[in-house]
């Protein structure tokens, strides 16, 4: 492999691909050829870099200079300046919103600075489609170590000692799960990697598949050796075509290298891996449901015990681990349980990947040590809330989790603290909400989700979610009744108590946690028919402030409902009978005018049509 003077790490995760990363690659390669730099500069497509909010992006090695928001037009200049003349281009670097001076180095950017990369150790550094890249970064050394020098029992002891807990959400100790399975008499045994990442707002599993698929294969093979399995499945959502493609390629390469298949590394241990796709059912992330799905049965969960580690797929002992859990295993084997258990809090060890999304400046994927506070994540890594809005809450754990209010900002994040706060770790989605997000509406959103995805087996879940949704819809429509909040609480508790699987027992969490922390918002909807966030369509309206409108016609042109009356120099007025409240006018009104206002809980000011704009004369420019 020839070494290049500069290696350009171009992110080709799903986010950046959607932003046109492959088009950039073409342009980049054409430009390089034009300058005769093809030998000196190599373009390496990597997996997700993590800083998705800046995509499409690239990092120029060896200095690690970060360029974001790239467009094909800016490539020729970039190639000429940086890659040819060695002068990094300032205007394409990352500049924090409140600062003027850009930060050139990736390691200096606050988004990356506070992170601690174990699972994502190779993200953005290797080409996920080349196994040699992974091996060059100490890949498969952990597998070699266990196969040549460790007894399966030793591996399990090591994992137990490390304190690793399942990263799928519930946080069951991984080593214990393996031990239970190993101690079962029945054979064959199976190991399943759960990549049915259904929680909306979470995409860490996809990212691991897209940026470093071999780390999962290595972890799963080690797990298979530890429990005594010879066959494994990777269950992945069909919504992730790129992840599936990269994983298939990785499995094929690992086979060719003798790292999967018969007699791995001449140790006598054989292990085969097979990909199974889901088809868009949230409940399939539940382990018994997942098993039924692979078996080709109707994917409804079943009662536990017996746990899958005792009676799993095809009736055989089966370990089901999350992607992140498996990708952590090689790190623990290589660096030792003692080293690993020093990271994190007393009960939660290691790091956790979160997807930091929603109303936040630095959107993306972060890996942080357990025990970090929300404040550090949101303000230091995330760079705060855009447009100077106020932070209101962060939603963790997807539809099973809850909303954590601003008052708990200093909460150290681990499994226990999140559960105590009425939420849960979940798979690691972290959705930031600002003052424009209505908490009742958010609760309604999650109930719509769970009501849709409930498999229908348990009455409390099937009918209960429906009833909760009905009441929430009523409240957001301004038709709430007295006693609705108490009803929601009572029914929520009943659903928690009486449902069987994880979906049912956690589905009331979004409702219960928002009532717990934002009861005043529920009451505003009920009593004053007012949505404090001005988000519930039936309780709000748009109007144009005549004092601010400059009659620029932009909103009139863009309004899909043609509900805006106005002409040049005549103040615009929204016809409330035609307005569909789509919010387009609010988005397009130039920020310097800021004339479109939202209103809730009070009468809409009536503005007469045909008033001409009063324009202030510009102050004469001194000569």
């Amino acid at each position: 492999m020839a070494t290049a003077r500069i290696e350009v790490m171009l992110c080709t995760g799903t986010g950046c691909v959607a932003g046109g990363a492959f088009r950039l690659k073409e342009v980049l390669e054409a430009e390089l050829a034009k300058h005769g730099l093809r030998e000196e500069v190599s373009v390496i497509p990597t997996g997700c870099n993590g800083f998705c909010g800046q995509g499409p992006l690239m990092v120029a090695m060896p200095e690690k200079i970060f360029y974001g928001w790239l467009k094909p037009e800016s490539i020729p200049y970039l190639v000429e300046e940086h890659l040819l003349k060695g002068r990094p281009v300032k205007k394409l670097m990352f500049t924090p919103p409140e600062k003027k001076e850009p930060i050139p180095l990736l390691s200096e950017i606050p988004f990356f600075k506070k992170q601690r990369l174990l699972v994502l150790r190779n993200k953005g550094i290797i080409d996920p489609e080349r196994i040699d890249d992974y091996i060059a970064r100490d890949g498969y050394t952990a597998l070699e170590k266990v196969l040549t020098s460790m007894h399966p029992e030793e591996i399990i002891e090591e994992i137990i000692a490390s304190g690793l807990r399942g990263r799928g959400g519930a946080g069951f100790p991984t080593g214990i799960k393996w031990k239970v399975c190993r101690n079962e008499q029945k054979t064959p045994k199976y190991i399943i990697c759960n990549c049915d990442e259904g929680d909306p707002g979470a995409f860490m599993d996809r990212s691991v598949f897209e940026s470093d698929p071999h780390s999962v294969i290595e972890g799963q093979t080690i797990a298979a050796y530890a429990i005594g399995a010879s066959h494994g499945y990777i269950y992945v959502r069909t919504e992730y075509p790129l992840a599936i493609k990269r994983m298939q390629l990785a499995i094929q390469q690992a086979r060719e290298y003798g790292l999967l298949g018969e007699n791995i590394l001449d140790s006598g241990f054989s292990f085969n891996l097979e990909i199974r796709e889901g088809s868009g059912a949230f409940v399939c992330g539940e382990e018994t449901s997942l098993i039924h799905s692979i078996e080709g049965k109707s994917p409804e969960p079943r009662q536990r015990p017996p746990f899958p580690a005792q009676v799993g797929i095809w009736g055989c002992p089966t370990v089901i681990n999350n992607v992140e859990t498996l990708a952590t295993v090689p790190v623990i084997i290589n660096r030792g349980a003692e080293w690993f258990s020093k990271i994190g809090t007393a009960t939660s060890k290691g790091t956790k990947i979160f997807s930091l999304v929603g109303k936040i400046n630095n959107t993306g994927l972060i890996e942080v040590p357990m025990g970090i506070t929300l404040r550090e994540i949101i303000y230091e890594i995330g760079g705060g809330i855009p447009n100077n809005r106020k932070f209101k809450a962060v939603q963790t754990g997807g539809p099973s989790g809850g909303c954590i209010p601003a008052s708990l900002m200093d909460l150290p994040i681990d499994y226990e603290s999140l559960t105590q706060a009425g939420s849960m770790m979940g798979s690691g989605g972290m959705i930031v909400m600002d003052e424009d997000t209505c908490m009742v509406d958010v609760a309604k959103f999650f109930l719509q989700f769970t009501n849709d995805e409930s498999c229908g087996k348990c009455t409390t879940c099937r009918e209960g979610s429906e009833a909760l949704l009905e009441v929430l819809t009523r409240i957001t429509n301004g038709e709430g009744r007295e006693g609705d909040i108490e009803f929601l609480e009572e029914l929520g508790q009943a659903i928690k108590d009486a449902s069987m699987c994880g979906l049912g027992t956690t589905l009331p969490n979004p409702v219960l946690s928002t009532i717990r922390y934002f009861r005043d918002e529920y009451e505003a909807h009920l009593t004053y028919k007012r949505c404090p966030a001005k988000a519930c369509k039936n309780l709000m309206a748009f109007w144009i402030d005549p004092a601010l409108c400059q009659a620029c016609l932009i909103c009139k042109r863009e309004c899909p409902a043609e509900s805006i009356y106005g002409e040049k120099n005549i103040i615009h007025v929204i016809d409330q009978t035609k307005c569909t409240k789509c919010g387009t006018c609010f988005d397009v009104c130039p920020p310097r005018f800021n004339a479109i206002k939202k209103i809730s809980g009070e009468p809409i000011p009536v503005v007469e049509r045909g008033i001409p704009v009063e324009r202030k004369k510009k102050a004469p420019v001194p000569v």
Binding site: S279, A281, S298, E453, T580, T584
Partner: protein, 302 residues
């Protein structure tokens, strides 16, 4: 069912034919009034059509919640005898005073001892016993379709758990599940059609109705939702004149909502086929639809 000809008095016990929800309620009411009831049903079990329904018109009540307590009460009631797999052959006499002859077909199971545990079903080596009323015993596929489906089946049938991969391949090939193909697969795999449909109707990615050439998946994940995904959905619906889950009459587009495509950094996002469009605003949508309408192919440079 004693006969006392001199008095035209309603005497003896009552016969209820058909064990649907009506028959069950009638039996319970009669038995509560102190009358011995014989409940006859030709099916192996009582419950009727309602036991197959999720909701009932017009109140949308949960069907299972309605029939389950009645099933239990009937099973326990000392004055109700349930005769399943049975048919009334003849009735002699007059209203209120008659003798009925009921033929009970053999069940080959001792009903007094069976607990309904289902172990026999799971362990029977004959996997698929075609019911005489199937009506799809000889479903005909066109030669091309047959070859296509046969190839798909041949590719996967010897894997453990072949159903899902086969359904996924059929979904890719046809974009939905044609009824005849499902029946054919049922015959070939020796899996009852009901079991296949139960799986097929469970997943969001499958459809039993024909779908458009381009499937527009509007992401309704949390991030896209708080960033206005619903407004995109409304706009698509408005421009295409369809509701979510519907297909345009020209079979070009199907509008769907999807639960998170994992592109939260690009919220709000839409996935059309395998192409992802991110950071969309309501005003961009017309242009996107136009691109796909233009030549009927997916545009490459988005």
């Amino acid at each position: 069912m004693k006969n006392e000809p001199e008095k035209k008095q309603k005497i003896g016990s009552a016969l209820v034919v058909g064990g649907g929800i009506g028959g069950m309620q009638a039996s319970l009411d009669l038995a509560e009034a102190g009358i011995k009831v014989y409940l006859v049903d030709s099916k192996p079990s009582i419950g009727g059509v309602m036991s197959q329904l999720d909701k009932t018109f017009p109140t949308n009540d949960c069907a299972m919640c309605t029939i389950a307590p009645r099933l239990v009460s009937i099973g326990r009631h000392k004055d109700i005898s349930v005769l399943t797999l049975s048919e009334v052959e003849k009735i002699e006499g007059e209203p209120g005073n008659f003798i009925a002859t009921v033929r009970c077909r053999a069940r080959f199971v001792d009903e007094d001892r069976c607990t309904g545990c289902g172990t026999c079903v799971a362990n029977c080596p004959v996997r698929f016993i075609p019911q005489p009323l199937d009506g799809y015993a000889d479903v005909q596929l066109s030669p091309e379709t047959k070859t296509l489906v046969d190839n798909i089946i041949a590719e996967h049938r010897f894997r453990q758990g072949p159903l899902m991969p086969i359904l996924q391949s059929i979904n890719v090939a046809f974009n939905y599940f044609p009824e005849d193909v499902m029946k054919y697969v049922s015959r070939q795999l020796e899996i009852p059609l009901t079991s296949i449909l139960r799986v097929a109707s469970f997943y969001n990615a499958f459809s039993l109705k024909p779908r458009g050439k381009h499937i527009i998946n509007v992401c309704m994940g949390t991030t896209c939702y708080v960033r206005g995904g619903e407004r995109l959905m409304d706009r698509f619906g408005e421009l295409l004149n369809v509701k979510p889950e519907e297909t345009t009459p020209d079979m070009l587009f199907t509008l769907k909502s999807v639960r998170c495509i994992g592109c939260c950094g690009l919220a709000p996002a839409v996935m059309i086929g395998e192409a992802v469009y991110g950071k969309l605003a309501v005003k961009d949508i017309q242009g996107i639809i136009k691109k796909y309408r233009g030549n009927g192919h997916a545009p490459h440079d988005h």
